[in-house]
Point group: C2
Chain length 502, copies 2
């Protein structure tokens, strides 16, 4: 037995604010350029949510101002629902606090986004965040910062101030790098316009408007509905949680009540498979039985596919319309795969192949990726979509407009399987990989067909031109021979070729 050892171990817990103060790179605030871009992104996504939530077409104005070197003032204004006043301090001044959305497609990370911008602003410039919000017609303006050690908001000012309309404006001053971040921010807004064709996005830099894009459609997409979890997504934690408050339910009732795609008949089958008594009460289940229920639910094949009404794909017309508006391609084609499922989560992949001079000339198409209507600008090489794209032999496909081309691919799901921390790359469940491969191939074939048609039509036009010249000559010669008016004969021949030809 060894003797006593002195250690200087001293244990303590830290608040979530403190954690992200120390590990800000985890949330995309690792350096001034990232932080500038991430601040815009978090605020814009909050604004889009706030508008869509009340069925209003978003008009989001981003203003960037670089007052002194290394400092950027970022302000984002929307015409959304405004915020309930009681919630403003915590929503902006408490890390891991936010509005719940239930199980449906959503942007962003619950409870982290906007508070990180406040935290980062106060660390780097010691400035509070300004929030001017109007909810149900009464406006209010706040200035607040975060008590980092205790993870709670400190309201510095709070006064009534009316706005023209409901909505929210948030302004922060951060240690940033506008020059380096600006190209990314412009890309981000342009691509957000593609993923949100019903929104108008405006960017002002030092009081000059440098981008004003969308809307490309007049109607708002239907809001995705909140659904119950699918049984194949039920890890033991989820099973345990869905049992809380249902201790007096029979196993049967519990399954039907807690999950989608489980009716009386399916519940009976699952319970028969488990070998448990259907009348057994949830409160009487042992821990091992709960674990077994999770493992059976996850592997049971006969459930229907998860409900896809909790998804909000962009849609053919809006997506093509937005790409048209932003890039003006000469050719574009839309297709989609799904609704499909990965581990109990519904997903849809939409793709557009487009060609035209706005895109770079390349052997492989340029790839623009989106997840749940958010453009993914970083970590492309780790993404399953990028990797799958490289598996297709694009050289086999003829492409219209001399290989100036791009593919837009939009993945949506109630859960996006992000590869790693940055939420910029999708990982590779087999279902997603095979669906995207099939989708890429269909896009390739469609483009190829169009290229052939283009080729054919070029050939045809050449032959028509040749025929026209010949016929005009023949008409002139014949007229000369027969004493007819040669000029009139030529005009008549020419008129034969006017109007629409293929």
């Amino acid at each position: 037995m060894s003797g006593p050892e002195s250690t200087h171990l001293d244990f303590s817990s830290i608040s979530p604010s403190e954690f992200f103060y120390r590990n800000r790179q985890m949330a995309g605030f690792g350096n001034p350029t990232h932080a500038t871009y991430s601040t815009v992104r978090e605020l814009v996504e909050n604004s889009l949510d706030a508008c869509e939530d009340v069925g209003r077409r978003p008009r989001v104005e981003v203003s960037l101002e670089s007052t002194k070197s290394n400092e950027v003032i970022i302000s984002v204004k929307d015409n959304g629902s405004g915020l309930p006043y009681d919630e403003v301090p915590s929503a902006f001044g408490q890390v891991l606090y936010g509005s719940k959305y239930g199980l449906r497609q959503k942007r962003g990370t619950f409870g982290l986004g906007v508070t990180m911008t406040v935290l980062y602003g106060q660390i780097t410039t010691d400035s509070p965040v300004m929030i001017h919000t109007q909810h149900n017609g009464r406006g209010r303006e706040y200035r607040l910062h975060i008590d980092i050690e205790n993870n709670c908001p400190v309201v510095e000012e709070d006064e009534g101030r009316t706005r023209n309309e409901n909505g929210t404006t948030v302004a922060v001053r951060i240690g940033g790098d506008l020059a380096r971040a600006l190209p990314r921010i412009q890309d981000y807004l342009r691509l957000t316009s593609i993923a949100t064709p019903h929104a108008r996005l405006i960017l002002h830099v030092d009081n000059e408007t440098i981008l004003d894009t969308g809307p490309w459609v007049k109607t708002l997409p239907a809001q995705p509905t909140i659904s119950k979890p699918h049984p194949r997504s039920a890890d033991t934690e989820l099973v345990r949680r869905t049992m809380v408050g249902k201790e007096a339910y029979s196993l049967n009732e519990y399954l039907i009540e807690s999950f989608q795609q489980v009716g009386r008949k399916t519940a009976d089958e699952v319970i028969r498979f488990l070998g448990y008594d259907p009348k057994k009460l949830v409160g009487d289940l042992t821990r091992n039985e709960i674990a077994r229920i999770s493992s059976v639910l996850k592997s049971y094949d006969s459930f229907n596919r998860p409900d896809s009404s909790s998804l909000s794909p962009i849609g053919r017309e809006p997506l093509l319309g937005a790409i048209d508006g932003v890039y003006g391609p000469e050719y574009s084609f839309y297709t989609r795969r799904g609704p499909l499922e990965w581990e109990g989560h519904p997903f849809i992949i939409e793709g557009v192949i487009a060609s035209g001079s706005a895109f770079p000339k390349r052997e492989e198409p340029a790839l623009y990726r989106f997840a749940n209507r958010v453009p993914l600008l970083y970590d492309a090489s780790d993404d399953v979509l990028t990797k799958t794209l490289k598996k297709v032999s694009w050289s086999r496909y003829g492409i219209p407009n001399g290989r100036h081309w791009a593919i837009f691919i939009s993945f949506c799901s109630t859960r996006v399987p992000y590869q790693a921390a940055g939420k910029q790359a999708i990982s590779n469940p087999a279902e997603i990989e095979s669906a995207s491969l099939a989708l890429f191939r269909e896009l390739g074939r469609a483009a190829s067909k169009m290229a052939k048609k283009q080729q054919r039509s070029k050939k045809l036009q050449r032959r028509i031109r040749e025929m026209k010249t010949s016929l005009e000559m023949i008409a002139r010669f014949s007229a000369n021979l027969t004493g007819f008016d040669a000029e009139r004969a030529e005009i008549m021949a020419r008129e034969m070729f006017q109007g629409d030809w293929p």
Copy 2:
């Protein structure tokens, strides 16, 4: 004024456990392969800390067992300090709880690592973590899991059980992918052996020992000392915090007491620069004055460089010894840059260039990166070290052993400026970029010199061989001519060339 709008916004806060349950990819647990690798890494790093903390040479045994498909049992055993019993439940069952280390070089992320393995294990296999620890001679075994919603430990079992020696064994069962993770784990352990030459690392897979590496040196490095913050690292949050409890201090006393490299004279100069009264009490400072103090401290040039005793570089002999032990190179050369400073944080970069058949043949050397003695295996392309490596025209340098070569580069600092969330890539403060560029060039020149020497020595050896053959012939001929014993003459000539030649 618009009328009332119904929103279904419903606000709430979530616990840190809940946050990382939902966003596990942030901590490196995004898929079964990552999770398997991350679990090993977190447990091994905990073990190394626990040993070094009591000045014991670490012996860390990793055991991996794949009982059924998609499940891995991971157990890591060390001979460290053991854990204080009161702290075991929170240290393993509460996210954002951990042992404090003060301001010095350290591995890992405070409060996240080991609890993530527990969280992930219980979500995927519903198994508790097993911790068997012996601290000051009394052993104790725990089984516990995390109450995710409340972020607190639930101890399932807890009983006395003696071990052979102080130390800790942790075992978790996780949903993992051993086959895919194993190559990474082996790389990780091999490189950890390089970064921790004083440790012995053993890997068992399904009861077979497949790796047993180190120790390469007999002595433990000195533990880095805890230092006060350097004034150039003082953001406003840090200034505010260091003022807590010092409200009755004069500005003068506060600066001297709170920061390193600030004595009476320097404090006076800073205060003169600020234009404040040196006798002004900390408690009387306004918020704007505090912000101004931070901004002056950050930009004041005349402070001495930060104390580097809070760093623990690997060192020439240990690093060369470990590379020798693991790769057996034919040639290796060590150099370092620093202590230097980035934004008030001291840093040292050490580098070794090595060549030999163990390394791949390439135009550019293979690069092995370390930060604070942790190997960085992912995101190489984003790393400032990788980017800087590519700026060097390696083709200009001759390299011994036909360009089978590698560079090992170890960065250490009280704060590593990670690029992004995954903590696998170092970002690019100018000071780090220029120091690493200079270091790479020095390594290139050293290797080049050695290659020339090798070349020269090859030439010399050829000439000696030629001379030897000629002399032997001359000896034989002369002996024949003079009637001397030709064979003996030849042997005498040959003996002239025995022994050490260059």
